[in-house]
Symmetry: D2
Subunit: 346 residues, 4 copies
């Protein structure tokens, strides 16, 4: 059994890792880290876990943790992982960081967009960007995984093949994204109260959202040139799910079949990516509570653009599920172990 | 592998059976019955199943079905199962009926509350009322299971021990129940449109809801006298979940510990029933997408009454989950096989 | 023009008063009190008021306020009004208190249920319980109004006529109530986050909710004997609305028409109370954003009980609307002035 | 009093007209047309109107209607108004059509996008496109108003000033729009059931939605050249509200103040259009149940684009409210009469 430690187990992403590992035949959580609830039973914070998890929440002493577990998930605010990580920890255990600390290779860009100083830039280079379907080869031998953001996973998976194959102009990409409210976290803020979120939709972080440079960096690798995009996130009155609607100019006349062939080239054998049948639009409900990403596209001959769409569950493929997928790769397990979840029917 | 046939696989309960059997290591669905969608791919109706279920929907020819499967689930409107069932079918296969056709032993009561003629009363006697935690001994050898209703499962499990042990006056029982909207089915009715259900709560079927005699019959067995109750269901703007708040007069002075001991007597070893810690109220979210029923109670010394509360997922323990639990019992499998689902964290 | 001051204008009830007074032809808000947002523009807290309210939030100096306004609404936590009120204020201005401070005549009961010491019991006697349809005669000349609670308004209006006329046994009353989440206030608490409230229903405050003694006191006046009830509130994933489902034993055989006549006796001429047609159940959506209370009942001959149902908008008739209705009575205006709102169609 | 007739009074837009006219001091509904509910009391279909509307639903005999009313609102499916309208009707009464029949001047474009034959093209020319803030001068003397679509009103108002002033490249416009579910109508369709819409977001009508040519036509007038855009609508699990997020390339370097000045040039004196303070994003809740449109923008210097955002209530400014605003203009009333509604606080 893989011994798992979680720092930040009582946030929504952390709790989702706990839930997934409960289902995982080869892993078990032995450290439920949570500064806010240290000393309290985990199941008193997440009462769905009554009689399923007996342990109490522990602190975030990563050095002690490194001696006890095979892998540490950090599901913590930006800046925490980079502050506490060190060579000793990485020499003893693997780390999968769900924050943004190691996602961006250029530390200046990180510090500019996140507004904080990076406290361990020496590990940025070795960190593998854990977008499994694209980087799984590098993941196998990694000590440190930068688990991708929710918006970024959905955006990149939806756009990547067309950039890579040169079908769209990278300078023309616009990503309009919509997220459920678990993405806003479990902090007690007025803006996230039921009565403030329900019956409402809004954009936020317009032109300044931190997932922007992360999407740009990955698409730049695919385009082999610098990509700058517009990215606009929106908050939707639902709990789970991200929908991406992305727009770009086609670089040439293409047919549906030609574009479909490009997506299939990259995703045909990917269990967790489903390119839908013609004219069907991805819906977040059809991937809820699963690790799937549903993708499709529509060519607009009138404007010469293509509309690319993707949907995933922000807590699963957008966070905890992909983190476990990375763990499976790192430990040589079949990739779907413990996360082969059938999406909700309703 | 147990071969499963479903008649009515495209309703919400039927689709939940499909989902659960996808996860079941010892069973597989080989017949996706659906009159409404006959000939169409199941995954075109439930697009969450894209690439997971390839089969097309079939009809409801139960005789043909009986030759092909080990167990038939009928997730169909009242009156359908009793119309098509026959001795030949029961001699070849097991039937788990999710409708009300075989739940009530007194056919006159059935016909009065449901307003339809029962077309095969000869099978009522042998049908086992499939409330697993109470009737599992009879289920083992049954050919025909009457799978309990959603409201009834939650109501009976919440109240049963106190009636059985004589702690409450059976004549004083009032059940005020609240259900998510999947309980209203997938039919295209104006009353169930998003804009009619959302931001609203209402009672319905006041004094006339069909689950009333079902609850009464089962509680009468426990009380060993005729029980007549008030039962009021309400529609709540959420998808899954039933919450029961039940009231009754205590027959004597009792302490919290005494009542707790009574619940524990019946449920301590029941995996799927969780009697919560003192003063915690069941919430539907903590059992969502699982087969658990959460139960608790509060003594009101001022009025001499006890408030009993229960929560379950109406599509799982209230329908498909309990149906699979019954299947497991009938086929000698561990009861939790395929339905050992961790409830949602959020 | 009536000059209005509000202490606590940035809570949900306070903001609803602001909205209603915006529509009121004979009143205007001249003091937007809010300790939390003192100095900030009201419209930066409630952005619906952009370009409609230009004023900044002020403090809660009631003595200064008393010199400037004709009426003060206190939409504040329990204990605040009784702490700051004094004879000088009451000699200069009228006070309508939306908290519970002056609702309960027996100060011991107040202090027991609310767990705080009452700091101005000398004003309790003169305070008028502002349930307009029942107490409007006393309201006319009052200096201090105790504006009823949301649950209590709905509960009392639904039950009062039958208690008053002796049709039900007051000892048998059980009130099962359901509320939208604005009732939980605008405080930043994890329990009220969108992701904690949505897709969930739960009871809370079982046997201990503070509205219990308030309902009991008013029904005791009607029954002319001490009434003790069970009251159970539930939190529903919607913003506005309270639904009450109440149960009681009938004291004699009665017909639908006889009970209807009793309700009509009290409510036929009441604009804001609508006794629905036979067999229709009140729904919160049909009174949303209005000052109406919809009421109906169902006799259960099987059990000898009657089910009484009521629905209102907790922020309007359950708080701000009734407060303005009281203001209108106190100032000799037609009762519906400014609150003659058509409920939402959808 | 203006006598109002409504054909299609029981759809969501029609019922909203009924509600608004209830509040209107100078108008009254005298004909509640509804083919589906002919003969039934209007208040049995919309129970919010109990005791407020006593009339029964009538048919759609427009000739009879023309003799009885001063203005007819047609809130009906596409093709109905153009089928029943005639010169005699227009000579007797004014018609405000909430369908698309007279919005598009080029009948070929109408027939292509709507897939139906236009049955009275002879009235297209005289019909005034009733976007009040832009066309009110023409509205004054019109007999026939083509009331704009919900998406189009929001899109055009958000984009119009920048196109008109040449600040953005009309060829680069992309409109990503999100709508509440009342926009999908009150028809009994599975896709609009609560359990299919809730906890979900999806795009639909990608590249083919019928509001596309309507937006294009109006923006073409502003640009004085043919404008072709991408328009993608999305369905959001809420009842009311449209949010538009639109993208375009700036034609030159501009500052925030310069762009703000352009919006102010067009909207500073418009009561129902609020250009928000810098960096605030429009939210649908802040305009709910009102006739306001909230607008703002953000310049993205990195990409050279501008993000334009608008929010309105699809049933009010997006349908019934604008229709009444047009009626007010046509009858010489102050434009805000009866629709001067304060948006919901929560």
């Amino acid at each position: 059994m893989i011994k798992v430690g979680i720092i930040g187990s009582t946030g929504y992403a952390g709790a989702e890792i706990v839930k997934l590992i409960q289902n995982h035949p080869e892993a078990e959580v032995v450290w439920f880290g949570s500064k806010s609830f240290e000393g309290e039973p985990f199941a008193s914070v997440y009462r769905n876990m009554f009689e399923l998890v007996d342990e109490k929440c522990l602190g975030d002493n990563i050095d002690e943790l490194a001696d006890k577990v095979d892998v540490i998930f950090t599901a913590t605010p930006q800046g925490l992982c980079s502050k506490i990580i060190n060579e000793d920890v990485l020499s003893k255990t693997k780390v999968i960081d769900l924050s943004a600390d190691f996602r961006i290779k250029d530390v200046d860009i990180y510090e500019k967009w996140y507004g904080i100083k990076h406290e361990s830039p020496e590990f940025i280079d070795e960190a593998v960007y854990g977008l499994c379907e694209i980087n799984r080869d590098k993941t196998k031998d990694a000590r440190l995984i930068a688990n991708p953001g929710c918006y970024t996973t959905c955006s990149i998976l939806s756009i990547y093949p067309l950039v890579k194959e040169g079908l769209i102009d990278p300078k023309s990409i616009i990503v309009d994204a919509k997220s459920g409210t678990t993405g806003a976290g479990r902090g007690a803020k007025v803006a996230n109260l039921f009565c403030e979120v329900n019956e409402n939709i809004k954009a936020y972080g317009v032109t300044t959202h931190r997932h922007t440079p992360e999407i740009e960096e990955q698409l730049s690798y695919a385009a082999d040139e610098d990509v700058v995009i517009n990215f606009t996130p929106h908050l939707v009155p639902m709990q789970r799910g991200i929908l991406v609607t992305a727009y770009a100019n086609l670089t040439k006349d293409v047919t549906y079949d030609e574009v479909k062939a490009v997506y299939d080239k990259y995703y045909k054998d990917e269990k967790f990516i489903r390119v839908l049948n013609k004219d069907l639009c991805p819906e977040t409900r059809f991937v809820a509570n699963s690790n799937y990403t549903d993708i499709n596209f529509k060519i607009d001959e009138r404007t010469g653009r293509i509309v690319m769409m993707g949907a995933l569950d922000n807590l699963v493929k957008g966070a905890a599920g992909q983190a476990v997928q990375n763990m499976n790769i790192m430990f040589g397990l079949p990739e779907e172990t413990g996360i082969d979840l059938v999406p909700s029917s309703v």
